[in-house]
């Protein structure tokens, strides 16, 4: 307990000399290099959009917008393998709630579950998940939007941006956000924010939450020669 050795190098690096969780910081750093991803919420709907990184003409890029249940969807930024893992945890929790209570899970409980899940990775000698997530959904309390970080920290709000140059994207959204936006305007604002952040026109995948459903928007397949 009262060991006062300033030498951290022999020990498993939980806390750095500055008292920060270095593994969590590294995970956040990885997220900040991920594809730019945003979420926008108004009282009537929410949208989530993520940049799809073009890979190779022969390779289909990974899916970035995920349906969690009929009424909720999620997206993320960071390592896609980690994102998929978290998506599965969310889907499982949504169905577990259906089994227990026979109703759809509320978005706050989903966010808290993801937060707990991620927080577990910060307390043991394991690698924290390198993924920040944006959740959107509709429940008894209305339309909800959440961001959950690798540390387990989560926020509720009307606009989030994560991934590469997310500060720029969030800036654009903050300046042009209105509560009376139409769905089309919000989707356009999202694309614009991602475009400003990247400095070029991106390929973006989008999902929309309305009063009682989540749906993915069809992607115009502009990036590849579909090989099948």
């Amino acid at each position: 307990m009262s060991e006062s050795s300033p030498n951290f190098s022999n020990r498993f690096p939980f806390y750095g000399p500055q008292g920060r969780l270095v593994l969590v910081d590294s995970a956040l750093e990885a997220v900040s290099r991920g594809s730019t991803t945003i979420g926008i919420k108004t009282p009537k709907f929410a949208i989530i959009s993520s940049q799809i990184k073009p890979t190779h003409p022969l390779i289909e890029p990974s899916e970035k917008i995920f349906s969690i249940d009929f009424h909720a969807g999620a997206t993320g930024s960071g390592y896609i393998g980690d994102i998929l893992q978290l998506i599965d945890a969310l889907r499982l929790e949504a169905q577990r709630h259906r089994l227990t209570y026979e109703t759809s899970i509320d978005i706050d409980s989903l966010a808290k579950h993801l937060s707990t899940f991620l927080h577990n990775y910060t307390t043991y000698a394991v690698r924290p998940q390198a993924a920040s997530m944006i959740l959107a959904g509709a429940d008894q309390t209305g339309i909800q939007l959440y961001q959950v970080d690798p540390s387990g920290t989560f926020f509720r709000g009307s606009g989030f941006a994560i991934g590469q140059s997310s500060e720029i994207a969030l800036d654009v959204m903050t300046k042009e956000y209105r509560t009376d936006m139409t769905q089309e305007e919000a989707i356009e604002l999202g694309e614009k924010a991602i475009e400003k952040a990247l400095g070029e026109k991106p390929i973006v995948e989008t999902g929309v939450v309305t009063q009682n459903s989540f749906r993915k928007l069809p992607l115009e397949k502009t990036w590849s020669i579909t090989p099948y």
Partner: protein, 191 residues
């Protein structure tokens, strides 16, 4: 043994019960409480093994409180009934059934509800329901007096008559009537 009834009304729900606890052919208690409030908006009437029912209610109470704290709003009556049924079902599947038949009644933002949950883990939503050894007699009264357009006040009268009739002819029921009415405040505020 026992007679319990639950009635759904326009302005809430009403539960009724007798007060007898039987030990075979012996009356073990004459002042048993068979209606348990889970909180201000939901209550359960108990038929069957009292200890099993007490346990299930205790767990349901804790779970309801936890969910309300976590997500910020309470479980609906249906969610609560499903939760209770799941506990009952897990008992059945482990060859140690909870020997109970419960009437889960309450109010939420969707209105008033009466659910019948038994040891098999099934739940059914009813306008009115009865359970226990006196239930065939109580049902006779309920079937002839119930209609959809009644108030809590009228339902209390019907519930008490149903339990009274059962107590007259069923040796497992007797020693007085307990009634609980839960008004639907949510609806009243909206109207």
């Amino acid at each position: 043994m026992t007679t319990i009834v639950g009635i759904k009304t326009n302005d809430g729900v009403v539960l009724g019960s007798d007060k007898r606890a039987s030990k075979g052919f012996f009356i073990g208690s004459k002042i048993v409480q068979k209606i348990a409030r889970i909180d201000d908006t939901i209550a359960v009437a108990i038929a069957g093994q009292l200890s099993d029912a007490e346990y299930i209610i205790k767990v349901a109470k804790a779970e309801r409180r936890l969910v309300e704290l976590r997500r910020g709003f309470a479980l609906t009556v249906r969610e609560s009934a499903r939760l209770i049924a799941n506990i009952a079902y897990s008992g059945l599947r482990n060859y140690q059934p909870y020997y109970v038949e419960l009437l889960v009644a309450g109010v939420d933002h969707e209105g008033s509800h009466v659910y019948a949950a038994d040891m098999s883990g099934a739940i059914t939503e009813e306008d009115f329901a009865s359970s226990g050894s006196g239930s065939p007699i109580a049902y006779g009264v309920l079937e002839s007096l119930y209609n959809k357009e009644i108030t809590n006040q009228q339902a209390k009268e019907i519930a008490s008559r149903a339990v009274a009739a059962a107590m007259e002819r069923d040796p497992g029921s007797g020693n007085g009537i307990d009634l609980l009415a839960i008004p639907n405040m949510i609806q009243e505020v909206r109207a």
